[in-house]
Point group: C2
Chain length 264, copies 2
């Protein structure tokens, strides 16, 4: 999996989390299922599950094991500790209400995007996004606006680690094309997503930056192509997003030193 080992990882911990992830993917599983899936001894899996269950990381229901809600506890706690979340979630709700469409707030972590908070407007678009979801930054508007406001070397490192996987015909998969797109995004102040992540879905995104212009996160509005045409994306929606971002940035600057938390 990894080319080399700068520091040897703790293998036991890796298998523990592998169990958790498999459990999440399967929704529920028995000891034997997990053992065969992960190619481990039943007894090993059993011991791990006992350990995880004791602390609520895993719950058992008869023979079936499931991921415990303690992950939700820790997950929500970290989200709430994130200033981007605190300063954007109300604004995201406003955007959803004003536009009637889906609005999201997204941050970067380890070179990937994480959906922090989303709110649906009156016209429910059945998107498959959910809070906590891990995405590739080059595949959507919010992600591209984050990349557009990061140093080029950082973007290059992200491409190196994660690549530019394709998800629809429209996904940008060429690094040069991406850098061109980021340049355009910087000039416009907003990023567009024209069916690059989901066929039939367009979106506009704008980055939230600190005083130095470094992107801390982004917000976006998405809607079916029928309701969100390029001309509207460039005018009304773009303007609304930029206004909102300005408001958020001002609020964050005022709080300033209060909550020290540069957040990569």
């Amino acid at each position: 999996m990894d080319h080399d080992a700068p520091t040897r990882p703790v293998k036991t911990v890796q298998t523990a989390f592998e169990i958790v992830l498999t459990l999440r993917d399967l929704t529920e599983a028995t000891v034997t299922e997990l053992a065969s899936e992960l190619d481990l001894a039943k007894s090993t899996v059993h011991r791990h599950l006992m350990t995880l269950t004791e602390q609520g990381w895993v719950v058992r229901d008869g023979a079936q094991y499931r991921v415990g809600l303690r992950f939700l506890d820790v997950g929500i706690a970290t989200r709430n500790a994130n200033p981007i979340y605190r300063y954007t979630c109300d604004r995201v709700a406003d955007l959803a209400e004003k536009t009637g469409e889906k609005a999201w707030c997204i941050v970067e972590q380890n070179g990937r995007g994480v959906h922090l908070y989303g709110e649906s407007g009156t016209s429910p678009v059945q998107t498959y996004a959910r809070p906590g979801q891990l995405t590739y930054l080059h595949q959507h508007a919010a992600g591209k606006s984050i990349l557009a406001n990061r140093p080029r070397e950082e973007v290059e490192r992200i491409i190196e680690v994660h690549g530019l996987p394709e998800i629809t015909d429209q996904t940008i998969t060429d690094p040069d094309e991406l850098f061109e797109e980021l340049e355009k995004t910087r000039r416009r102040g907003v990023a567009f997503n024209e069916e690059e992540s989901v066929v039939g879905l367009n979106a506009v995104g704008a980055a939230i930056t600190d005083q130095s212009g470094y992107a801390l996160g982004a917000i976006s509005i998405s809607a079916p192509v029928a309701r969100l045409q390029p001309e509207e994306m460039e005018s009304d929606i773009a303007e609304l997003l930029i206004e909102t971002v300005n408001e958020i940035e001002i609020n964050m600057e005022y709080a300033g030193g209060q909550d020290e938390y540069p957040l990569e």
Copy 2:
């Protein structure tokens, strides 16, 4: 901590999660801080953090480490997989809107309560509850209505494991008193919380049960004592809750075999 060891837990995994929990409590910490806090060698903590960071469970920002949003990913996924969440969240929102107060949906896991989903009404009560929060079932209305619809042996086992910790003067701390209260709750169909978890806060809760009458979860409405007096709790609010529960239970029965998931 534990009286005896039925099966020896995997110590390495325990320390890994201890690191995560300490990190959550401190919001952020350095290697040395964690090492001294947990009484481990710096190198050990470092190796663990490297392992956890590689998978996104932990994020580093220079010298500071923080819990990663991957916990949110897994946490939200398990919440969404939970039928109680799927069938109650819209109804909880309705309740919040109708009453103008705070409404919650809660489930039991490992003998403790977990706040699954909450929605505020128009009158914002600054409660300290958040989704994912771990609570004691005997300390609030929703929890008591769950206990009231579980076999007595199960309640006894929960008391044995978790005790009946006091949080306010009004908290029930005597097992006999609790069983009496649960009996009353069963007769009424709803449970009351009169400043038993937070001074100045009252609440009413009702259990969601399966066909056999076994509690799967509960919903509750809470408000400051000034706005939620006993007489109202027993009439309007109680009725509203019971109606809502009936609606939820019918919806769940119809879906029936669709999503097999007894969910303790």
